[in-house]
Amino acid sequence: MKGNVIKYARDNIDTDVIIPGQYLKVHDYSELALHAMEGLDPDFHSKVKEGDFILSGRNFGCGSSREHAPIALSHSGIKAVLALSFARIFYRNAVDGAFLLPIEIEEDAYSNISEGDEIDIDIHTNEIKNITKNKTYKMKPFSEIIGKIIEAGGLFKYKPD
C-alpha cells in the first residue's frame, strides 16, 4: 500500500478536531469529508489526495466514540493513520468498519518520516518502506484478532473459527 504522508507532529489529536461536533448530524459521508481535520488544519481538505496517510504522535483519536472520525478521514482518501499509539475506541472504529488501517509505529519511523514522503506499508511483513528517503522501519504487528477482522473486511464480515 503506497501513498504520501501528511504529518501532524503532536500527541493527542482528538476526535473533536478530526470532526467537530457540529457535523455529527451529517449523514452524507462525502460532506462529512469536507470538514475532516477542520479543527486543526483548515487546509487539510485541499491538500489530501486519495491514498494518503496521516502520521502523528501518541494517543491519536482520543475523546469521543464518534465513528464519524474514521469515516471523515477515510472518505477524504486517507487509507491509514500511522501513530505512536491510538485511543482504543478510534482504533476499533477504524478496524470494525474497515474505514482505514490504524498502524502503530515506533519512534524511529515517527521522527524520520517527513511530510510529503512517499511510503509503502506492508502489513504482512510489518514493514514500512520510505521510498523518498530509502529507509525501512518496523510497524507493530496487529494482534491476531484485529488482523482477522481487517482481513475479513470489518467486524460484520468477520466469522470466528
Binding site: 507532529a9 503532536r10 473533536d16 478536531v17 457540529q22 448530524k25 482504543r88 476499533r92 468498519g97
Partner: protein
C-alpha cells in the same frame, strides 16, 4: 490468586473465550442515543436482523436536543431529522425511548442510574465514551463505536480484548469538602497520569478518599476515566450504592437478594494483582483549572500558566503541544490563573449536572449577581434533576443572579445544538473535554468544578473557592 472486581464481572459475562484471542462478552444493558445509532439501525435493516433483546435496550435523546422552550419545534433541520430517526428506529424495533417530552429524558449517563437501570456487577455499553460513568455503581461500563452498537443490537454480545486492571488509590481526606470536589480529584489524577496514562486498562478507584464520596461524586470520577485513556472506571459498591438504587423506577423486584450477593461478591480480593498502581493524596489538593486543550493540561487555581518547557519535562511533543495549546487559548506563561477573565460559564454535562452539583453551585450564587460581562447557563443533566432542583428553589437562585436556567441535554458540552461559544470566547465549564473547538469553533474551554464555575461567573475571573464561605 484472587481477582479484581473488574475481572470478576468480566469472567461472569464470558460467552466464548479462547487463549490469546478476544472474548465474546455478554452485555446486560445497552443505552442508545440519537447520534451514534442511526447507521447501526440501518445496518440491521439492511441485513434483516431484529434487535436481539429490546428489553435490555433503552434509548433517549440528549446530544443535540435544544435546551430552550421544548414546546417549540426544533429549528435545526438536521437535528430534527436525527431525533425523528431515533423515534422511528425505537418504534420499528420495539425499544423503550425516553423522548424529548418524557419526564425521564436526560443525558444518557444521568438517567441510567437515576432510573435504576445501572446495576452493580452488570455490563453496560453505549455508543458514547462517557459510559464509564456507570462504573461508579460497580458495573463494567464502557463506550463503543457505531459498528459495535450494531453488533450489540443484533447479538447482545461484543468481541472484546481484555483490558488490564489499574488501581488508583485516593488517600486522605479533603479539608474543605465544598470547595475541593470530586472534579478536582479526577482532574488531579489526569494531570498526574496523563491523558493516555490509563490506555488499555480498567481503573478501579479505591481508598478513603473514594469511600467518602457520594454516589453522584463517584460518577464524576468514573465519568472522566476515559479522559485518562482508560476503557472504564469502576468503584466497588457499598451501602451508599445500594441505598441510592433502592426503590428506583427500574430497580429489579428481587433487589434485596441481589444486594446480599453484591455485598459479598463485588469487591477485589485481598490477594488480587493489579498491573498498574497510582496513589493520590488529597489532604492538600486545591481546586483545579485546566489551561490547555486536553484535560491533562491542568493546574491548581493558585498556580500560574506553566512555561511549555517546564510542563513538558523534556518531551518535545509535549512541549509543542503545550505551545500550540497556549496559542489557541490565548494565554501567556506566568499569568496567574486567578487573573484569567472569562466570558461564559456552562454548568452542565454528564460530568457535573446532577442535583448535588447544582446544590453546591447554588451556594456560591445565592444572593449574588452574575458579573456584568459574563453570560452563564445552567443545564440540568435530566428532566428529573431539573424538577428536583426546582422543588428546592435552585432555579430561582440562579435566575435571580441572572443565570439562564435550561432544559436538560448535552448542550454546550459538545456544541451540537445552538448552545455554543463564539470564536475567541472563554468559558469556565463543568464538562469533561477542553479540546480545540469542542464547545464551538474557536471557543476556549477551562474545565472546573461546579463551585469553581459558579464563583468565576460571579467574579468574572477564576477565584479560589476555598476563600469563599460555602456553608
Amino acid at each position: 490468586m484472587g481477582k479484581t472486581l473488574f475481572e470478576k464481572i468480566w469472567d461472569a459475562h464470558i460467552v466464548v473465550e479462547k487463549e490469546n484471542s478476544p472474548s465474546l462478552i455478554y452485555i446486560d444493558r445497552h443505552l442508545v442515543h440519537e447520534v451514534t445509532s442511526p447507521q447501526a439501525f440501518d445496518g440491521l435493516r439492511m441485513n434483516n436482523r431484529p434487535v436481539r433483546r429490546p428489553d435490555l435496550t433503552i434509548a433517549t435523546m440528549d446530544h443535540n436536543v435544544p435546551t430552550n422552550n421544548r414546546s417549540l419545534p426544533i429549528l435545526d433541520q438536521t437535528s430534527a431529522v436525527q431525533i425523528q430517526t431515533l423515534e422511528k428506529n425505537c418504534n420499528d424495533f420495539g425499544i423503550q425511548l425516553f423522548d424529548i417530552n418524557s419526564p425521564n429524558q436526560g443525558i444518557v449517563h444521568v438517567i441510567g442510574p437515576q432510573l435504576g437501570i445501572t446495576l452493580p456487577g452488570s455490563t453496560i455499553v453505549c455508543g458514547d465514551s462517557h459510559t464509564s460513568t456507570h462504573g461508579a455503581f460497580g458495573a463494567l461500563a464502557f463506550g463503543i463505536g457505531t459498528s459495535e452498537v450494531e453488533h450489540v443490537l443484533a447479538s447482545q454480545t461484543l468481541w472484546l480484548e481484555k483490558p488490564k486492571p489499574f488501581e488508583i488509590n485516593v488517600m486522605g481526606k479533603r479539608k474543605n469538602t465544598h470547595a475541593v470536589t470530586a472534579k478536582d480529584i479526577i482532574l488531579s489524577i489526569i494531570k498526574n497520569i496523563g491523558t493516555s496514562g490509563g490506555n488499555g486498562t480498567v481503573i478501579e478507584y479505591r481508598g478513603e478518599g473514594i469511600c467518602d464520596l457520594s454516589m453522584e461524586q463517584r460518577m464524576t470520577i468514573c465519568n472522566m476515566s476515559i479522559e485518562a485513556g482508560a476503557r472504564a472506571g469502576i468503584i466497588a459498591p457499598d451501602e451508599k450504592t445500594f441505598d441510592y438504587l433502592r426503590g428506583r423506577k427500574y430497580t429489579p423486584k428481587n433487589y434485596e437478594s441481589l444486594v446480599d450477593y453484591w455485598r459479598d461478591d463485588l469487591k477485589t480480593d485481598s490477594d488480587a494483582k493489579f498491573e498498574k498502581n497510582y496513589t493520590l493524596h488529597i489532604n492538600h489538593i486545591a481546586p483545579q483549572v485546566s489551561w490547555g486543550t486536553n484535560p491533562g493540561m491542568t493546574c491548581d487555581v493558585t498556580e500560574s500558566i506553566p512555561f511549555p518547557e517546564d510542563f513538558s519535562k523534556g518531551d518535545q511533543n509535549q512541549k509543542k503541544g503545550a505551545e500550540k495549546a497556549l496559542e489557541y487559548m490565548a494565554l501567556k506563561p506566568g499569568t496567574p490563573i486567578t487573573e484569567i477573565k472569562i466570558d461564559r460559564v456552562f454548568i452542565g454535562s454528564c460530568t457535573n449536572a446532577r442535583l448535588d452539583d447544582l446544590i453546591e453551585a447554588s451556594k456560591v450564587v445565592k444572593g449574588r449577581k452574575l458579573s456584568q460581562h459574563v453570560r452563564a447557563m445552567v443545564v440540568p443533566g435530566s428532566q428529573m434533576v431539573k424538577k428536583q432542583a426546582e422543588e428546592l428553589g435552585l432555579d430561582k437562585i440562579f435566575t435571580d443572579a441572572n443565570f439562564e436556567w435550561r432544559e436538560s441535554g448535552c448542550s454546550m458540552c459538545l456544541g451540537m445544538n445552538p448552545d455554543i461559544l463564539s470564536p475567541g470566547e472563554r468559558c469556565a465549564s463543568t464538562s469533561n473535554r477542553n479540546f480545540e473547538g469542542r464547545q464551538g469553533t474557536g471557543g476556549r474551554t477551562h474545565l472546573v468544578s461546579p463551585v469553581m464555575a459558579a464563583a468565576a461567573a460571579i467574579e468574572g475571573h477564576f477565584v479560589d473557592v476555598r476563600e469563599m464561605d460555602l456553608n
